[in-house]
């Protein structure tokens, strides 16, 4: 389907219908990960390491197994050993050996909360008691938590097989992206700003904990019902970790209570399958919040140095960022995207971004909305603010002066096609917020952000039902309203009302392989598959009408949900509605439907600019966010309400990251705030209404112009809040979170 340039031609896309999954969710009927129970279901419980780093000397489960009601205990001995060679055969950055060792520790525990054993029993109480009866003998080892300490000579080493520059190390790799000569560019500058910035690990904070039920039959056929961002991801990872045939595994995606990137890995699923295999009964496992914090992925914290130089007129001549990110216990921090996104908002001739991926005794990090980008943006956008101050320039004008546009070559490689950063800056500048007055102790900050948005493997099918209604199946778990978006796009192509189209998310046996929901890809990629499937259905409908009219299919057009003769020569037939064609399907060739599987290419980059006003209590350091405006180019909004919701949600998570969220460790390397009481995500009363301003510069490689929306809004807030605080108190905060004690110390330090 060709790109629809004229928005007024669209009848469904751009409207705000009620979401199809809404009633189930608000009435509590929706089936989340913990809501399914099968006959004879056992309860699984994980025994976790109390140590940050220790060698497992011995595991004795005999007392646990002797407890009545205990049906199975598993340890790493129940998992096949995956060699590094096999791991390298995995796709992309996934290392299945590491993944297996994260799911269940082998030889060593690498962080507090690392799973060591799991038990299945007839009740939660028995499972809890049994876990406490498993005796583990540990040889406690020195540990290291912080990224720079982990990089230092003599740091305790987590892995024997990780080397850097030929020497055993916690540094797993270094990445570098460059364009031109950054040092020479900096040397040409009239003004240079330089800063060191620190961010802490922050958790995705999804409200629904990880949950799964798995049932393995003696013939190997396995059912898994779990909350995740990818049923096919679970199927593939379980198959690799437990050496099972993929065809034997059927994964049904549960309704998901938030993921934000954190549900792109397996934790419980292989354990539940292994326990079920051993016990011969279904096994259900649900994490508690403490386990979620201690054992599942936050995103990285890190340290970085940013240097930007500019001419007096604001033209940036050179820029560098050097960053080191925590990967947690296994390699895999988002250091590459952090570097790639760092300066992507700007059209620079000379730029270098380099970074280290560093392991330490923390839980393995997982993706979190725009992985890596908010971290580097905190440094870069804080430095941009300092640069504007030093140049005496308006911070938006400085960004306009250097804005990336169509034809800009990004440091990470590509040349941008049409992008909307300039339009975003214009919308921010002309928004009344930017010129509104401020009171005492108040300050305003602005910051921007870039995310690639991605495409990839997606499948969707569209079926015409007997009465002319439509069923849509896709392979993408619905996190941000994608069922509604798929139904809307199918309705648009078919020319039928949205209410006549009912979408579901298929299980792994019902729909073709589909990559995870993440990276802001579903509305673009799965949307493209849905559109193509709907177009094939339209082609078939036209054929059927042609057959009924006994004319050539080329002589039939499709208009507003009806077959019509293409012209006067085609014959004088009355339009034939979809329902009429459906009613005759049995006589014209059988059921009508189509499935499309694609690798979607041509994702369009997204840009955002956020304006934040804060008031700082000069006596306590308390920061109140007074007003917040988030401007973003989304390509085109399929369902504007869900687009705005994504922008608001991302901004809120970014504000939490900026102000109060952090992983705290005690002197033994144990997480000290593993609960929502002391891991402080924002509550509703902390925030003003977040005003989402949607800018639409369509991505012409998607039929309806979609770019993607979910990642960009979490990128600018860290620096937007920091820049507002700087404006309010006159001090640059270099370290996250910008919590009251730190701000008060900064204010007192200035006085």
């Amino acid at each position: 389907m060709n790109f629809v340039a004229n928005k007024s031609e669209l009848k469904v896309v751009g409207t705000r219908p009620v979401r199809p999954d809404g009633i189930d969710k608000v009435t509590g009927k929706a089936m989340f990960g913990a809501d399914l129970t099968m006959a004879g279901t056992l309860t699984g419980k994980v025994l976790r390491s109390p140590h940050a780093h220790a060698r497992i000397v011995a595991i004795d489960a005999s007392k646990a197994l002797a407890l009545p009601g205990v049906k199975a205990v598993i340890t790493a001995a129940d998992f096949p050993e995956i060699s590094s060679e096999e791991a390298a055969a995995g796709d992309g950055a996934v290392n299945f050996r590491h993944m297996a060792h994260n799911v269940l520790a082998r030889d060593k525990v690498l962080y507090e909360g690392h799973a060591v054993a799991a038990v299945a029993a007839t009740s939660q109480a028995i499972a809890d008691a049994a876990a406490a009866l498993i005796e583990i003998t540990y040889e406690v080892l020195p540990f290291v938590i912080d990224v720079e300490a982990a990089m230092a000579d003599g740091a305790p080493l987590l892995h024997d097989d990780i080397k850097y520059n030929g020497k055993p190390s916690n540094i797993t790799k270094r990445v570098e992206f460059k364009l031109g000569d950054a040092d020479a560019g900096l040397a040409e500058a009239d003004v240079v700003v330089e800063g060191r910035y620190e961010t802490t690990a922050v958790h995705q904070g999804y409200i629904e904990p990880h949950a799964v039920i798995a049932s393995v039959n003696p013939d190997g056929q396995t059912q898994i019902f779990a909350s995740s961002q990818g049923q096919f991801m679970i199927r593939q990872y379980v198959s690799k970790i437990l050496a099972m045939d993929i065809a034997n595994i059927r994964v049904t995606p549960a309704e998901i209570g938030g993921g934000f990137g954190g549900k792109t890995l397996v934790y419980l699923e292989p354990l539940a399958v292994a326990l079920s295999r051993k016990a011969g009964k279904p096994v259900k496992m649900v994490m508690n919040r403490e386990e979620v914090f201690r054992a599942t992925g936050p995103t990285s914290g890190g340290v970085m140095t940013v240097k930007i130089g500019a001419k007096k007129d604001g033209t940036i001549t050179g820029a560098t960022i050097d960053i080191a990110l925590q990967a947690g216990a296994f390699p895999g921090s988002p250091v590459a995207p952090a570097c790639m996104c760092a300066f992507a908002c700007y059209d620079l001739k000379n730029v270098r971004a380099s970074g280290f991926d560093v392991v330490s005794n923390r839980s393995k990090i997982a993706a979190y909305r725009a992985p890596g980008a908010p971290i580097s943006a905190f440094g870069v956008e804080s430095a941009m603010d300092d640069l504007a101050t030093k140049l005496g320039m308006d911070p938006i004008a400085l960004r306009e002066k250097n804005a990336a546009k169509a034809g800009t070559k990004a440091a990470y490689g590509p040349v941008f096609p049409e992008i909307g950063f300039e339009q975003v800056l214009e919308a921010a500048k002309s928004h009344p917020h930017w010129s509104a007055p401020l009171g005492p102790n108040q300050g305003r900050g602005v910051a921007t952000g870039f995310w690639f948005n991605i495409g990839g493997d997606s499948s969707a099918s569209v079926f015409v039902n007997e009465d002319g209604t439509i069923s849509v199946v896709s392979g993408s778990p619905d996190i941000g309203g994608s069922r509604a978006s798929m139904a809307m796009m199918a309705a648009e192509v078919l020319g039928v009302p949205y209410e006549k189209v009912r979408p579901i998310v298929g299980d792994t046996a019902q729909i073709g392989i589909t990559g995870m929901t993440g990276g802001s890809r579903v509305t673009f990629a799965t949307g493209m598959a849905t559109v193509q499937a709907a177009e094939k259905v339209v082609d078939e409908l036209k054929k059927r009408a042609a057959m009924i009219w006994d004319i050539s299919p080329e002589a039939v057009d499709w208009k507003d949900g009806e077959a019509v003769p293409a012209g006067a020569n085609a014959g004088g037939f009355d339009p034939m509605p979809l329902a009429a064609i459906a009613a005759k399907a049995g006589k014209t060739g059988g059921p009508i439907g189509s499935e499309v599987s694609i690798n979607a290419q041509g994702a369009g980059a997204g840009f955002g600019a956020h304006i934040c006003d804060v008031e700082v209590d000069p006596e306590t350091g308390f920061v109140k966010v007074l007003r917040y405006t988030a401007v973003q180019d989304v390509g085109r909004a399929i369902h504007p309400s869900y687009v705005e919701g994504q922008i608001q949600g991302g901004a809120v998570q970014g504000i939490g990251w900026a102000l109060n969220e952090e992983y705290l460790y005690d002197k033994n390397g144990r997480m000290d705030n593993a609960g929502f009481l002391d891991y402080r995500v924002p509550v509703a009363s902390d925030l003003p209404m977040i005003e989402a301003v949607v800018v639409e510069v369509p991505n012409k490689r998607h039929p309806f112009g979609v770019r993607g929306v979910g990642e960009v809004p979490i990128i600018p807030p860290l620096a937007a809040v920091g820049n507002a605080i700087k404006a309010a108190i006159g001090v640059r905060m270099h370290s996250l979170p910008m919590s009251p004690p730190k701000i008060l110390a900064a204010i007192d330090g200035k006085a």
């Binding site: 403490e290 306590t620 308390f622 705290l664 402080r680 009363s685 902390d686 009251p740």
Partner: protein, 289 residues
């Protein structure tokens, strides 16, 4: 397997008998907003839970000639909706209403907040500053205990085995007497006080402070009654010099720890700030009566 029993006696003697007769750990359940969370997390493992809410009179507020009687299990929501109590003790009510969320307020009780024995309990500083008395019942009869003497250490109370709080007595406020409670949290709600401060002041007809009680929370193992802070403002109209002296006295009374919720330096500084701010609110309220 460990067993947990639950009982909901309908009389004080029955409740005492159950609590006193328990072999292992017995816990009193009022609203349960602390107990149930501790139970689920495994932090407490009682063998008996005695729900007191069926005892007549343990929920509700009565205004008497001497002041107010608040049942031990009365919820924060009910306290917040009692207009007479809100008028007489706005500080006690605002402290109580800061506990948890709207949902938690429907259950959380004064006795529960007190007997959880956290130095950060939000309802306690203003209760102490108000001179509230807890009526404690137990196997040896009934005794009246000033609220400030209930908590003896974090997580520990002076209640003996078999004892529980039946109700609280708040004296009738004098003319020109009022109170206030402020706490500091990094968010706006749903959090634990980093520092809390309750202030109760009485003024004469000229606006001179004649009596004062300043109580700090979360800056020491238990709530701290800061007598030096009271002295610093008695006889003043809470002018800038008095406020500065109050700030200094509050800071000097702090003996906090550095933990995940705050550092020694931060807590100490905030204690002075909150004492000043709460005193100003109480002063204005008292003056307006």
């Amino acid at each position: 397997m460990p067993r947990l029993s639950y009982a909901a006696p309908a009389s004080v003697p029955d409740a005492i008998k159950l609590l006193a007769g328990a072999e292992g750990l017995a816990k009193v359940l009022s609203g349960g907003t602390d107990l149930l969370v501790q139970l689920r997390s495994g932090r407490t493992r009682p063998e008996l839970i005695v729900d007191t809410k069926k005892i007549p009179g343990i929920i509700g507020i009565r205004e008497t000639e001497d002041g107010f009687v608040i049942g031990a299990a009365t919820s924060g929501a009910e306290i917040g909706e009692n207009a007479a109590l809100v008028a007489a003790y706005p500080g006690v009510v605002e402290g109580t209403n800061l506990i948890g969320s709207t949902q938690v307020q429907g259950r959380a009780s004064l006795a529960g907040n007190l007997c959880n024995a956290s130095p950060a309990a939000d309802s306690v500083p203003a209760l102490i500053a108000a001179g509230a008395v807890a009526v404690v019942v137990g196997p040896n009869g009934q005794r009246n205990v000033p609220v400030g003497q209930i908590v003896i250490a974090p997580g520990r109370t002076s209640l003996a085995k078999g004892e529980f709080i039946l109700e609280f007595h708040l004296p009738k406020p004098k003319a020109k007497q009022s109170d206030a409670y402020l706490r500091f949290i990094p968010r706006t709600e749903m959090d634990i006080a980093v520092v809390g401060c309750g202030v109760n002041l009485t003024l004469d007809a000229n606006g001179v402070i004649t009596a004062a009680c300043i109580v700090l929370g979360a800056v020491a193992p238990t709530q701290v009654v800061v007598e030096a802070a009271a002295k610093a403002i008695i006889g003043t109209k809470l002018d800038d010099a008095a406020l500065a002296a109050l700030d200094a006295a509050a800071r000097a009374a702090c003996n906090p720890i550095t933990d995940k919720r705050g550092t020694i330096e931060f807590r100490t500084k905030i204690a002075g700030v909150l004492a000043r701010r709460a005193a100003k609110i109480a002063y204005d309220r008292a003056g307006a009566r």
